[in-house]
């Protein structure tokens, strides 16, 4: 592993003072590559905090461009019409020249998913579509890449850690694809709600990279207007009959049916 430079000691000094994290955590961050799929309401704060915290290489994938209606929550962007992956990468570089922030201004899709995740240590799902969420999950399981998945809508959020050795996949937790999907554009979102989920995703990523996978299968749920805004839910682990990671391995027929229905093509592994 590459050691820290003098500049990096100065930059990250306050983090290395945290006992559980320390210098060893900082060196692990420096030597890690994290993929951020989606540079929107989740990806912006998540990418900024991970870039500033010192993740050595960030791959940022987003094909979309910045619209006025994004600005209230996508706090890394300042320019209407810019590609979101490029805009977020630029914002990270402005703040921390010690890390590499690599923009991929392409759609994350079945035919390039596996290639985009080459040499990656951890994947962060910051997307806004259920079809892509299942695709990211299936690729992560196939490539044995841990996945931190966050989502937000209106005044609520959810976060789970998946696909680490022995852990469940997204399909284990959520076997039923919803009939009707609800996006932030159509159903609304409060800026600080998706923001807090994106920063939590960065916090969990930092913990994962420094200390490894969680001991228990759980999901964090957030609801700003609930009397108890945060809950940590104990979840069932791997589902033996999961069509992706179950006891009999990926069920090619069922997955093919799934992809035929929701994606253009079956993922290339």
């Amino acid at each position: 592993m590459k050691d820290l430079t003098l500049d990096e000691y100065q930059y990250y000094g306050r983090q290395m003072l945290v006992p559980e994290f320390g210098k060893s955590g900082q060196v692990k961050l420096k030597n890690s590559t994290v993929a951020i799929i989606g540079a929107g309401g989740l990806g912006c704060p998540c990418g900024l905090y991970l870039g500033c915290a010192g993740v050595g290489t960030l791959k940022i994938v987003d094909f979309d461009t910045v619209d006025t209606s994004n600005l209230h929550r996508q706090i890394a962007h300042t320019e209407i019409g810019a590609n979101k992956a490029e805009s977020l990468a630029k914002a990270i570089k402005q703040r921390n020249a010690n890390v590499r922030a690599l923009p991929y201004p392409v759609p994350f899709a079945a035919d390039n998913a596996s290639q985009l995740l080459e040499d990656v240590d951890l994947v962060l799902d910051c997307t806004d579509s259920p079809a892509i969420r299942y695709l990211i999950n299936d690729i992560c399981y196939a490539k044995q890449l841990p996945l931190i998945s966050a989502a937000a809508l209106r005044s609520e959020g959810q976060l789970s850690i998946l696909c680490y050795p022995g852990g469940p996949c997204y399909r284990c937790l959520f076997p039923h694809m919803p009939a009707v999907s609800q996006s932030c554009s159509d159903n609304g979102i409060l800026g600080p709600v998706v923001g807090v989920m994106g920063v939590m995703q960065a916090a969990e990523a930092l913990k994962f990279l420094a200390l490894g996978p969680p001991q228990e299968v759980s999901m964090l749920i957030f609801s700003l207007f609930s009397p108890v805004p945060w809950r940590r839910i104990k979840m069932k682990g791997k589902r033996p009959d999961c069509i992706n990671c179950g006891e009999n391995g990926p069920d090619a027929t069922k997955l093919a049916t799934y992809y035929a229905n929701v994606c253009d093509t079956y993922p290339v592994l």
Partner: protein, 95 residues
């Protein structure tokens, strides 16, 4: 017995916008609690099917009993206890 029923993920819309309420339940299994909620607690009965389908919770809705997935607790057979917290919410996909 008193049971706290909390809903989220859009389900609050058929509960008159109420996210959390304490209901007086005569006791029984989750199956019985579900029937009670569907009949007595849901306010917009015309949209009951976003919550209940064929006598069970609609696929895609998470059921959490005292901060545990109900699959760990026996699902419909779980015997509801006084003071339980039951939360129904949808999987979110936005970002």
């Amino acid at each position: 017995m008193k049971v706290t029923v909390e809903v989220g993920g859009g389900l609050e819309m058929i509960f008159g916008g109420k996210r959390s309420q304490v209901v007086a339940f005569t006791g029984g299994s989750m199956q019985a609690l579900l029937e009670y909620i569907a009949k007595e607690v849901v306010e917009d009965q015309s949209k009951l099917d976003v919550f209940i389908l064929d006598g069970n919770v609609r696929p895609g809705i998470l059921v959490l009993i005292n901060d545990s997935d109900w699959e760990l607790e026996g699902e419909l057979e779980y015997e509801v206890q006084d003071g339980d917290h039951v939360l129904f919410t949808s999987t979110l996909h936005g970002g």
